[in-house]
Symmetry: C2
Subunit: 527 residues, 2 copies
Amino acid sequence: MFEATKVGRSVSKEEYKEQQEELRTQLLVVQRELRGSQIPLIVLIAGVEGAGKGEVVNRLHEWLDTRGVQTFAFWDESDEERERPRYWRFWRALPARGEIAILFGGWYQAPIEHRFRGLCNDAELDAELNRIIEFEQMLVEDGALIVKFWFHMSEADQKTRLKELARDDRSRWKMLPEKSRFSEHYAAFERVAERVIRHTDRGCAPWYLIEAADRRYRDLTVGKTLLHVMRARLAEASGGTTHETAADALELPASTSAQITLLDRLDLEQGLPAEDYKRLLKHYQAELNELAWAAYNKRRSTVLVFEGMDASGKGGTIRRIAQAVDARLYRAIPVAAPTDEERAHHYLWRFWRHIPRAGRMTIYDRSWYGRVLVERVEGFAKPAEWRRAYSEINRFEEQLVDSGIILLKFWLQISLDEQLQRFRERESVPYKRYKITDEDWRNREKWPLYQEAVNEMIARTSTQYAAWTLIEGNDKRHARIKVLRTICETMAEALKTPPQPRTGYWPCGDKRTEQGNSKAAKAEANG
Amino acid sequence: MFEATKVGRSVSKEEYKEQQEELRTQLLVVQRELRGSQIPLIVLIAGVEGAGKGEVVNRLHEWLDTRGVQTFAFWDESDEERERPRYWRFWRALPARGEIAILFGGWYQAPIEHRFRGLCNDAELDAELNRIIEFEQMLVEDGALIVKFWFHMSEADQKTRLKELARDDRSRWKMLPEKSRFSEHYAAFERVAERVIRHTDRGCAPWYLIEAADRRYRDLTVGKTLLHVMRARLAEASGGTTHETAADALELPASTSAQITLLDRLDLEQGLPAEDYKRLLKHYQAELNELAWAAYNKRRSTVLVFEGMDASGKGGTIRRIAQAVDARLYRAIPVAAPTDEERAHHYLWRFWRHIPRAGRMTIYDRSWYGRVLVERVEGFAKPAEWRRAYSEINRFEEQLVDSGIILLKFWLQISLDEQLQRFRERESVPYKRYKITDEDWRNREKWPLYQEAVNEMIARTSTQYAAWTLIEGNDKRHARIKVLRTICETMAEALKTPPQPRTGYWPCGDKRTEQGNSKAAKAEANG
């Protein structure tokens, strides 16, 4: 989930100067409009330590007219607060209609801190997050605009930043005391943060994740996004665009270096010599064969998902897997247009059908991600439909993983030139010609739209339990070996331990019957 | 919450016969319309044991055209099911567009059973319920219509019914094995059921609570409600009324005995002789005085809420309380029209302001319930606004109770005649004349609308942690003493034990700082 906040986006001094002036003027205009409206604006500032949350708030105070803007930090509770229900302090901080409240951490601070410190468990955290969702929804239904910013950076960047900073005594985020445990702490905090953000990232009060390593990029992006969101909401209030079309994406500064994406960061030219390829292919295919049988014996299922542009090498890669695995153990599902029966159900229904039995493997050649790729780009799904699909898909995959399934998702990335070359090759080879159609050529024209969709897909559906593996695909040999190696390593690792449910109290796999029966029987005997 | 399913509603044989025929015809017509639509219909059947869930399903099969209707019971998982993610079995049962699936228990069966048997705790149950909410929302967003029926009856009725029934071996609800523990089991099951229903009663997939003691009432109400909901949804699909106006209330059979309400069941003529009144008043006022000081010493706050029609005796009753409690310990808040500042915030904001500090008492003379009473009846709040207020209020009160506050809510009920008499009396007594205005007379005309709103308010906001106390108010002496006695008994009981949070892991009251500080310090020292 945080991959997209670690790509090294930045804005130069000159670009910043240039764009800041315009932004300030516009922010003041929109703030004035807001004042005349019935909309209270709540800006929530959160993120990792050292991301400069205080700096951002100071910047906002500099840019906005401070009349009508109030800032609240929620440090230790006062006597007055402690003697009342927990949320009393937040109700006190809520802005009146037309005004702005900037909240440090807000209602997220305590739950994140408590979970990080082990004062509560995941189920208790989730319960608290649901209370937050209801609270925010209540405010939004009453007309409030809630904008939540999360500032993030890579482990290395954070380390550097924290060294720069003199420790601020008043900070409550006293994480990372010892250098030796920095990585551990970083990972633990990120785990909590992902859970919190994923759980509370709702259409009515979305999170905006911002890379905080470069201060100029960070501040400009906050300002521009805030401006955009306020404008959209004011337009909606005066009967303009509907909430559905209001984008929940960041407004990026107008600088190339500020718009770098994850896919841009891939080195597509990585290659593998033919001899190495042959040797490694043999090696990993043999290993995969054994692992598939081991998974069968341990009753662990595997789901492999392959996505990529036309001619990105999905078919060839899947064939190399199929060669390795006993035909009784796997099914490959090529996903094309849905059947009548499938069309009469929810779009996930057709994928649920093919979920493997215990110990088997299903390989999806294209998958449920069509919803946010082809259906989005071609307009087969409405914006509201593909937007909500991200969380639907996350939930779906969570259920798969929770039940003990080993889930792997591959995105095969090739360059536009490489695709052209492969198309031409296909046309020239008789037995490959059937693979190329007019539609493939048309799709090429939509390349940038697809790339945008892919970037968003990866950012929104790369979760800790089901991360995307990005494959540099210009060299087929490199791509195939990287896929095979990733599958082998992941399966070998997963088969070492029995599956653990990530959410809920239900046991996985074989234990399900066991516990269900024995515990229930026991309870009944006692009851 | 279940109060309204225990009032003894019934339908006579003749009435049933008469109304059934018409209903069947209409159901078949609507089912045909549904078939031509894009709407899959999911009917969920749940409730207490012995409520006749099987009978209801058989009745529906009798009334509907069985082509296009499929029924699923979720007994023990099959091998096929156990080897896949838990929800696989539910996905298999989902109806295609235009078809109907009737689900026994559905996705609610296991969580309720597990919680009842102690296989999971409240937080784990809530987490599972949130998964259910998301699942249902996903289906609804995809066009599905979900109708959830909960069949309920009083403890006595259930006991009788279970005696009548030969035990059905296939039933999974093997509750209540021993007679001696019947009450305990009944209460425990009801507690779980309330939690589940309250949590999952969303606008997009509401629960319909039906009294199941009388079979004819039960079946007719199911049929009529189902008909009504289907019609509303079909009208909406064809661009008719919006979802907002679709009622989520039961469609009752056209019989007086089928429309009895909770308020109808009150014996308003209960009286108290003047001598007894004097003695008891003195007694309880003295007790209340001591209890208020005891609460102060134990730092337990109290919130009293008084609601009732004009001239129902709220003021007089509150004065009797005020006489008893030291003026430094309580504040009485008369709730009239909001101030400008209050109007610029969420409607609950003005009530949060007056939440008492530790050990104090706040008496609300009218309250947040104005949202679902006067604002509903007079149209000051839109239907969507007052409809969602029920759960907002439940959540609000849950927070109060969770923080250790002793919360009591009184509804003072008088008859229309008694009100008239009191109005006349007020007009005739000079110093009381200011209390009566033209508006009071106008409000009398809306009496039936108010009574409807009160009934719904009590049904939807009488929770286990904040139940309504209904006061028979025609005799002021009886009313006042009943209020005072209830307060004294509840406070005395509550002060015996320190408060326990019902939800979440946060400690209450004084413990909050204690645990927060010490645990956090400890964790930090270790970290």
